[in-house]
């Protein structure tokens, strides 16, 4: 069909390591000793069939990401997993996912996704991984992990007769019985306190599962209290938000906040504008991917490798069956851009 299919042929002949995006881009005013990298794997959606059977296709996507991340040179300082490890939040799914992830040779930090949460409200996930929101500092960068997939209490606690029903209602992306994601008052207070200790010129990187911006409510590409979070983040000089959930490349700039999404290892989602009955709300900066090829199981899936320099994040998308892409922060333009398509000049939005 076209050139983008050739990559997989090369990859499957055993030269994967050579194909990995491994460059650390240093800007001239960076402190080189503070440059570092981390890997980002997301949305594995490990799905239990019965007994010890799991959906093979989703397993393969995650196993491949883990194997490739282990080959990275230079070694990443840590790995983030961006949420939706499971499909229906069950113990067998979370255990099976944890087992695959345990092959990673690096420290791994976890983000909560709605598919991990709505069966037991995160209880088993927390047994495995601990806090659902937290922060840590690494080489001069302040990292924050939020659980952004909470929703209205009434929906969570009063609406559904069983936890299984609640999980399956939230699991359907286009389900009109779903409910918009939110960070919620408790975490907003915590975030405010957490950030009060951080200097204005400290680079801040925030990980969430949902976008922390309002893209398309019909598919929950959305965080209800995104404006409140943006207000708290907006006072820092350099803020980067990296989110999962959307299973596609998106990037955007709102004020000083740079947003970049990550891919799923399981399956791609169409862009919201491809739904003919809805208004389009894709972040205007984004150069979208082409449609996936249904005959290629791994098309439009993948994982990312992140360079952190000068407090900004540059994401290299390691796409299994497509041309790799790189979305880097362009300091002159003041927003992220796809380095292969810089000629596409689009002004960032001020607000969503």
């Amino acid at each position: 069909m076209n050139g983008r299919r050739d990559f997989i042929k090369a990859a499957s002949t055993g030269v994967i390591a050579g194909m990995l995006p491994v460059s650390v881009v240093r800007l001239s005013h960076a402190a080189p000793e503070n440059d570092f990298t981390f890997a980002y794997i997301s949305d594995a959606h490990i799905q239990h069939i019965k007994g010890n059977q799991f959906v093979r296709n989703w397993d393969r996507g995650l196993i491949r990401a883990v194997a490739e991340a282990n080959l990275l040179e230079p070694k990443p300082d840590f790995v983030m997993f961006g949420g939706d490890l499971a499909q229906l939040g069950s113990k067998p799914e979370l255990d099976h996912g944890a087992e695959i992830l345990s092959a990673l040779k690096y420290k791994t930090h976890m983000v909560m996704g709605e598919h991990d949460y709505y069966l037991d409200l995160g209880e088993y996930w927390s047994d495995l991984y601990g806090d659902q929101y937290y922060s840590f500092d690494h080489k001069g960068v302040h990292f924050v992990v939020l659980n952004s997939i909470l929703t209205y209490d009434d929906w969570t606690f009063n609406r559904w007769e069983t936890p299984e029903r609640r999980m399956s209602e939230m699991a359907g992306l286009d389900n009109p019985n779903g409910s918009p994601f939110m960070v919620g008052a408790t975490q907003l207070n915590w975030l405010k306190k957490d950030l009060s200790k951080v200097k204005k010129d400290t680079p801040v990187v925030v990980f969430s599962h949902s976008p922390l911006q309002k893209i398309y409510k019909g598919w929950n590409f959305w965080t209800e209290d995104a404006d409140d979070v943006q207000k708290l983040l907006g006072k820092f000089d350099k803020v980067n938000v990296i989110y999962g959930h959307v299973h596609q490349i998106q990037y955007n700039q709102i004020g000083r906040i740079a947003f970049t999404s990550v891919m799923s290892t399981a399956w791609p989602w169409p862009y919201p504008q491809s739904y003919a009955q809805a208004e389009s709300h894709l972040p205007v900066l984004t150069v979208p991917m082409n449609r996936a090829d249904p005959f290629d199981e791994r098309d439009a899936t993948g994982w990312q490798f992140v360079d952190v320099n000068t407090g900004r994040v540059d994401l290299s998308f390691n796409l299994y069956s497509n041309d790799n892409r790189k979305v880097a922060f362009n300091a002159d333009k003041g927003h992220p851009e796809d380095v292969s398509y810089p000629q596409i000049e689009i002004a960032p939005q001020r607000h969503y």
Binding site: I49, V55, W269, A276, P294
Partner: protein, 133 residues
């Protein structure tokens, strides 16, 4: 609503061929046909989230929210892997066999018709573009 009489008058005034003037469908007929379609499309929506179409618990809506990326308006069209120009239902069967690890449905299986009705309904308003990718 504009009455038939008014339409006729307008059409005659413009000296255009009269397309829907005489012998109009009754409102009851139109309503019944639409209701029949809507019922089948609703059945298609249920199937869209029904894991019984396959064997591994996977459903269409996981990858095609609101039937997005099904492009019914582009059929019939060439699909490399079919090696020829094929129909929408053949691609539906492809997705049933592969992501869902299920068995083909017959082209005239009521379930196949319902799946297509739902896809077309979600895609309504998009111009026909046979052969396009």
């Amino acid at each position: 609503m504009i009455s038939r009489k008014t339409w006729t008058a307008l059409a005659l005034a413009a000296l255009l061929p009269v397309s829907a003037a005489a012998d109009e469908f009754t409102a009851a007929d139109v309503e019944r046909w639409q209701a029949q379609f809507d019922e089948v499309a609703a059945e298609g929506r249920s199937l869209w989230t029904d894991s019984a179409l396959g064997t591994n618990g996977v459903v269409c809506a996981q990858c095609h929210p609101n039937a997005a990326n099904t492009h019914p308006e582009t059929y019939p069209k060439f699909q490399k892997q079919l090696g020829r120009v094929g129909q929408l239902w053949e691609m539906i069967n492809w997705c049933i066999r592969n992501p869902l690890e299920g068995e083909n449905l017959a082209a005239d299986d009521p379930k196949m018709i319902a799946l297509q009705a739902y896809a077309y309904k979600e895609r309504r308003g998009v111009p026909l573009a046979p052969g396009k990718h």
